[in-house]
Symmetry: C2
Subunit: 335 residues, 2 copies
């Protein structure tokens, strides 16, 4: 009944310790522990009991070494604070678990550097990486050598597998909706620095041109607070805005706050459309109209793609290593 964790001094019990204690051989212990056939029931139980008593845990390293690698994939996530990413992570974990894979999550949000740092941390322990790597996709692939990488939302990453989103399509969907409900003075709030438009921003700009719509573009830090401040400033500079499209749902939440603070009713004075389709949108006031993505689809797509790359069914740089998903417009109260 004594119980004490094996300190750093006390070496872990090995399979030989158990074998000796039970008066049997290694192989018999292996058979007992892994429920393999060819062993008497009584022996099996005796060995298992003894193993429990000695606190024996098979070394995953030794096991992995001899059995050939269980594939384990790294998941690099920018920011677990934005509900979108945990939802995505959850989906990937689910799909990977179905395949018997093992997922190691690393988020590089809290000031702990860039996506490259995450990949660097992940590198020694995984056979592949899935992640929102942003502009560092190519370097990440270089760092991982021949191990496959699936990059989300970065179509330029040609060396790896990629999943991107049809932003022109999504932008059109949103702008048409705003036009349809009679909005003429539209604005788009992008994430990131003012001197550089995101892929989404560029698509929105082009869609506006195509549709002959006049569009004001503002920039904010990628967070609810950033969006709130930016929209506050925008309302001062461009008071007539009556339709607002926002980079993502979290920022849209911040935008709603700023609009309320500025005395604008939503959607009366200004309609708002977000992007992501996270459950948060339904909790806001008013409920958020958004360009939604089925995250289970995204996770499934990423894992499928990686599977193809890992098994070799999908040669790198071939057609099929890159696929594009489409958003769907979910209309709720805000637009």
């Amino acid at each position: 009944m004594s119980s004490s964790f094996p300190g750093p001094t006390a070496k872990r019990a090995t399979i030989l310790d158990v074998a000796a204690a039970a008066g049997v051989s290694r192989q018999t212990v292996t058979r007992a522990m892994n429920d393999m056939p060819g062993i008497k029931q009584e022996t099996r139980e005796r060995v298992q009991e003894l193993a429990r008593e000695l606190g024996y845990t098979p070394s995953r390293y030794a096991k992995g070494l001899v059995q050939g690698a269980r594939t384990s994939v790294g998941l690099a996530i920018p920011d677990l604070t934005n509900p979108y990413f945990p939802a995505f992570a959850s989906s990937v974990v689910e799909m990977a678990t179905l395949r018997g894979w093992n997922v190691v999550v690393d988020d590089f949000g809290h000031g702990s550097g860039s996506s490259l740092d995450a990949v660097e941390r992940l590198s020694p322990q995984v056979d592949a990486v899935i992640g929102y790597l942003g502009p560092h996709a190519a370097e990440a692939q270089a760092l991982l050598g021949r191990r496959p990488v699936v990059v989300l939302d970065e179509p330029s990453a040609l060396t790896a597998g990629g999943i991107s989103f049809d932003y022109p399509f999504a932008a059109r969907l949103a702008l048409e909706r705003l036009a349809e409900i009679g909005r003429r003075r539209l604005a788009y709030l992008d994430a990131g620095p003012a001197w550089q438009l995101s892929a989404r921003g560029a698509a929105v700009g082009r869609a506006a041109d195509d549709l002959g719509i006049d569009l004001t573009v503002a920039h904010a830090e990628d967070s609810a607070e950033g969006a709130r401040d930016a929209v506050g400033a925008m309302l001062a500079a461009y008071p007539g805005v009556d339709g607002l499209l926002v980079f993502n749902d979290l920022m849209a939440a911040g935008a709603l706050k700023a609009l309320a603070a500025g005395g604008r009713s939503v959607p009366g004075d200004c309609a708002v459309i977000g992007m992501d389709g996270i459950p948060l949108g339904m909790l806001l006031t008013p409920e958020l109209t958004t360009l939604s993505l089925d995250l289970r689809d995204v996770g499934r797509a990423a894992v499928d793609l990686l599977d193809g790359l890992l098994t070799g069914a999908l040669p790198p740089r071939s057609a099929g290593t890159h696929l594009t998903l489409r958003h769907e417009l979910v209309i709720r109260a805000s637009a």
Copy 2:
């Protein structure tokens, strides 16, 4: 420049392949790859280049086997959909990374069974577990044998390390606040089935008794939707309620929706206090008053505790294996 991922057929390149290609020995390759001293700069570069070309990646299993285990801890999370948990996970990951540990996340939310299943999946690949294991804490510890477990929010789990929260204190804080702003007809919304009060619920009940406050208790499924429906029903059965304390922030968000739908103003007609202190609260309308927990503290506490258990500095079942954290009342608009 040819690049192709090593299929399942093509065996991985080993250290011997690199050594042969470079015309050196294993050890020299090891020295080159790990930036160890005692090797000529020129050799180092030549070997590294060759390794890159052959797509050589050191086997983490072989490395782990000989170097002794890098500790890796499993994190068992009930539901990544509730923003509280990713935030907690993020905090644990951060603290663990600081120690050079490695974190494997498993969530058992999406119908994939109980916390025990998660522990079972985690068991072969981790040296310890941190998690919200609920009632299965004891079984989990049994399953993990001598490997330490840190259980969150389950004070009865005496076999393992534990972190719990001072609910009597928190309940008092909330009820006093509601009384202070003149609320007399209070209700508490618990999570879980009607026939069983949660630990939080029990503490709230006792605090109400102590303070001589009359309190109605309702039950809902642990989700925003569950809370919305339950509060809707409550408003019909108990229309006079003017102060509401809710199991957690996500459910509080649902409660706000139901109150709005029921034509109640918040906090005018009914004040609301949540519990968790997640950022979501600030995005709601009105902003949510809540019993907040500094998640970085919780993560740090869990990792510290585990560290003590792993190193043996903290004997199991001793004082100090169980510690209690306190909530803080963050007053915003809703109460």
